[in-house]
C-alpha cells in the first residue's frame, strides 16, 4: 500500500486542469495577460537593440543571442509559475489558516504534497512562446555568416538539464521563503520577492561585472541566492555568446550550477522540516 507519487502528481495535474477549465473566462484572461506581458517584454528589447548592437562590450550578447536568453527566461518563468508559484503561495495560506493539518495527516512526503497540488496551466503558453523564441533566434543566428554557431542535437539534453537545475533552484528559494510563514504567522511577500529577484535574473550576468556595486550584486545572486545561474547557464549552452569551446570559468560556473541545484534543494528541505516542527495549527 505504498503511495504512487506519479499517480498523485497526475491527479493534481488533472484536478487543476478541470478546475481551471471550469472557470473558463478566468483561464483565458490569465493566458492572454501572461502572453501580452511576454510580447511587451520582447518589444522593449527590440527597441533597445535599435540603439546598440550588444549588451556589454565583448560580452557577446548581441541581438539573437540575447533573444535566446530571453526565451530561456520565459521558459523558466513559465515552469516556476505553472508548477511552483501558486503552491508556494497556497502553502503560506495553509499555515495561516491551519489547513496544513490535512497535509500532515497524509501518508506521503509532506513537502511533495504541498509542492504540487495546484498546477497553473494558464502560465504554460508563455513557456511555449519562449521555446518558439529560442528556436527562431537560433535559426537567425545559424544563418548569420559572421557567427560560427556550433550546434547539434547533443546540446538539447544539456540545455534541458540546466533548465531543470534552474527550476530546482527557483523552487527551493520559494519553499524556503514560504516556510518562513510558519515563524512569521503571515508572509505575503512572495510575489514581491519574486518580482525583485526575477528583475536580476532576466539579464546576462556580464552586465553586473563592471562596477563594485555590480560585482556585489553578481556575487550575492550567484553564491548566496544563486539565481543568476538559473537563466545564464542554460542560455549560454545554446547562445554561445563567447563561442565554443567554453572558457574554463564558464565550465566551472556550469558545474557550480548543478551543485547549487542540489545544495539549494537540500537546504530547502532542511528549512521545510525545521519549519514543520514549529507549526502551531491555527484554531480549531
Amino acid at each position: 500500500m505504498q503511495p504512487s507519487y506519479l499517480n498523485v502528481f497526475l491527479t493534481f495535474a488533472r484536478n487543476s486542469l478541470i478546475r481551471d477549465m471550469s472557470f473558463r473566462m478566468n483561464f483565458i484572461l490569465q493566458c492572454v495577460s501572461s502572453i501580452s506581458w511576454a510580447v511587451m517584454n520582447f518589444g522593449l528589447f527590440k527597441i533597445i537593440y535599435q540603439h546598440t548592437s550588444s549588451i556589454g562590450r565583448g560580452s557577446g550578447w548581441e541581438e539573437n543571442e540575447f533573444f535566446i536568453f530571453l526565451g530561456t527566461v520565459w521558459v523558466i518563468n513559465s515552469l516556476v509559475q505553472t508548477f511552483f508559484m501558486a503552491n508556494a503561495e497556497e502553502f503560506s495560506e495553509l499555515i495561516r489558516t491551519g489547513n496544513l493539518d490535512f497535509a500532515l495527516l497524509k501518508p506521503i512526503d509532506t513537502q511533495f504534497l504541498i509542492s504540487f497540488p495546484r498546477i497553473n496551466w494558464a502560465q504554460l503558453p508563455n513557456g511555449i512562446l519562449g521555446a518558439g523564441l529560442i528556436v527562431y533566434s537560433l535559426i537567425q543566428l545559424s544563418n548569420d555568416s559572421n557567427k560560427n554557431l556550433q550546434l547539434s542535437l547533443a546540446y538539447l539534453p544539456a540545455f534541458l538539464f540546466f533548465v531543470a537545475c534552474g527550476a530546482i533552484i527557483m523552487y527551493s528559494v520559494m519553499i524556503v521563503l514560504s516556510s518562513t510563514s510558519i515563524w512569521l504567522g503571515r508572509n505575503q511577500n512572495l510575489y514581491t520577492f519574486w518580482f525583485y529577484i526575477t528583475n536580476f535574473y532576466r539579464y546576462p550576468m556580464e552586465i553586473y561585472q563592471r562596477s563594485g556595486i555590480g560585482m556585489a550584486l553578481w556575487g550575492t545572486f550567484t553564491f548566496v541566492i544563486p539565481i543568476l545561474v538559473v537563466s545564464n547557464i542554460p542560455a549560454r549552452v545554446l547562445a554561445q555568446p563567447l563561442g565554443t569551446p567554453w572558457k574554463t570559468w564558464e565550465l566551472l560556473l556550469a558545474g557550480y550550477t548543478a551543485l547549487a541545484a542540489v545544495l539549494s534543494l537540500v537546504a530547502s528541505r532542511w528549512v521545510f522540516k525545521r519549519a514543520l516542527l514549529s507549526y502551531r495549527s491555527a484554531s480549531s
Binding site: 478546475r19 509532506t110 480549531s284
Partner: protein, 354 residues
C-alpha cells in the same frame, strides 16, 4: 485484509502519559498606539492548552471528549494525530508516536474536523476521493467498493459529481467523513463532526457512525457539543476542562457524580393538591394539574411518600436532569476550581515577592 502487528491485540489503541502542550499568545492591547508599541515590545501569555493528561483507550472503544470551548479537546486530538508536537509527555497510538509522523501510522488513522475541510472546494468530491486513493495507495477495486458502500450508507451517491462548493453543509460533512474513511482507518478522531448541522443531518451522521463503528470496531474519539451525539454513541465520556481531565467514566457516572438531584413530575388528581404543593422547595413549574420539582437524589423516596400520604396523585415521573444541564454544571464547577487555583497561585506568588 488487515495487517495487524501482533502486539496491538494486547496493547491499548491509545496510551497517553503526562502529555503537556502550551502556547505563547501575543497579548495585544486595544488601539493604534498599542499596536505601534507592539512593533517593539510584545507581551506574551502562556496558555496551557493541555496539562498533564493521562488517558488509555482500548481497541474498539468509542470515547467522547467533552469540554467547554478552549478546554484542550482539539489540541489533544491534534497531538494524537501528530499535527503538533507536545512540550512533554508520551503518547502511543497503535504502537506509534504520532508526532514522528511515520507513514505506517498515518495510513491507519484519520482526523475529521467539522470546522475545516480537506476536499477540493471547486471540484466534485469524487476527485478528492480519487486523490486519496493514490495517496493511501488503495487498490482500485477495493477503493471503489468502499466508496460505494460509504456513499450508499450516507445517501450521497447522487452528489458525487457535484462541486463541493455547491453542497450543503450537511452533505459536505458526509463527504468529509467518506474521504476520511476510504482507507479504512483503525483509529478515527472526530472533532465536532456535527457542528452547525440541522437535526436531520446530525441524526443521520450519528446513525452512520454508530453502524460503522459496530461493524468495523474502529477505535473512535469524538468531541462534540451536542449531547445527543454523545448519548447516542459513546458509553465512555472524558471531560476535559482547562487542559486537564476532570472526569473519565460512563455517562451515568457523570450524572451520579455531578447532579445531586432528580426531577419529579406529578400529575395530581385535583387542583387543590396543586395549590397545596406550590410552596414546595425546588419547584420548577406548575402546569395544573401537573407539578414539576427538583429533589435531592437521596430524598426522592421520602418526599414522594410524604406527598402520597396526604394527596391523591394520578401519575409520577422521576427523571434525571437533562444532560446538557449536568454537563454545564460540571463545566461551571471546573471553571470555579480554575479561578480558585489561579487566585491561590497568585496569592502565593505575591506573598513570595513581599
Amino acid at each position: 485484509m488487515r495487517l495487524w502487528p501482533l502486539y496491538t491485540e494486547a496493547m491499548p489503541a491509545i496510551e497517553i502519559k503526562n502529555l503537556c502542550k502550551s502556547y505563547r499568545v501575543y497579548q495585544k492591547q486595544e488601539g493604534i498606539l498599542a499596536s505601534v508599541r507592539g512593533l517593539f515590545h510584545r507581551e506574551y501569555k502562556e496558555v496551557h492548552a493541555v496539562r498533564d493528561i493521562d488517558l488509555t483507550v482500548d481497541d474498539g472503544e468509542f470515547v467522547a471528549f467533552l469540554g467547554p470551548n478552549g478546554a484542550g479537546k482539539t489540541t489533544t486530538l491534534k497531538l494524537l494525530s501528530g499535527v503538533i508536537n507536545p512540550d512533554s509527555g508520551t503518547c502511543q497510538v497503535l504502537g506509534h508516536v504520532p508526532w514522528h509522523r511515520e507513514n505506517e501510522y498515518r495510513r491507519r488513522f484519520s482526523l475529521v474536523m467539522g470546522q475545516k475541510n480537506q476536499l477540493w472546494w471547486d471540484l466534485p468530491a469524487q476527485e478528492s476521493f480519487r486523490l486519496n486513493q493514490h495517496i493511501y495507495g488503495v487498490p482500485r477495486e477495493e477503493f471503489d467498493r468502499t466508496r460505494d458502500e460509504l456513499t450508499d450508507m450516507l445517501d450521497v451517491t447522487r452528489l458525487l459529481g457535484q462541486p463541493v462548493r455547491e453542497l450543503s453543509l450537511g452533505e459536505r460533512m458526509k463527504m468529509e467523513l467518506i474521504a476520511a474513511l476510504l482507507h479504512k482507518p483503525d483509529v478515527l478522531f472526530l472533532d465536532e463532526p456535527t457542528i452547525g448541522l440541522d437535526v436531520v443531518a446530525q441524526h443521520k451522521i450519528q446513525q452512520f457512525l454508530k453502524a460503522y463503528q459496530q461493524e468495523r470496531r474502529t477505535t473512535i474519539l469524538l468531541t462534540s457539543h451536542y449531547m445527543k451525539d454523545i448519548e447516542a454513541l459513546c458509553k465512555r465520556v472524558v471531560i476535559i476542562a482547562n487542559g486537564a481531565i476532570y472526569h473519565d467514566g460512563s455517562l451515568e457516572d457523570i450524572v451520579d457524580r455531578f447532579s445531586g438531584e432528580k426531577i419529579v413530575t406529578l400529575q395530581m388528581t385535583d387542583g387543590r393538591s396543586v395549590d397545596a404543593l406550590k410552596n414546595l422547595p425546588g419547584l420548577v413549574e406548575i402546569e395544573a394539574p401537573k407539578i414539576k420539582f427538583r429533589v435531592d437524589r437521596d430524598d426522592v423516596g421520602r418526599t414522594l411518600s410524604d406527598i402520597l400520604a396526604s394527596h391523591s396523585v394520578d401519575d409520577i415521573v422521576v427523571e434525571e436532569p437533562p444532560l446538557e444541564e449536568v454537563i454545564s454544571n460540571v463545566f461551571s464547577e471546573a471553571e470555579r476550581d480554575r479561578v480558585r487555583d489561579q487566585s491561590a497561585a497568585d496569592q502565593s506568588t505575591s506573598t513570595g515577592v513581599s
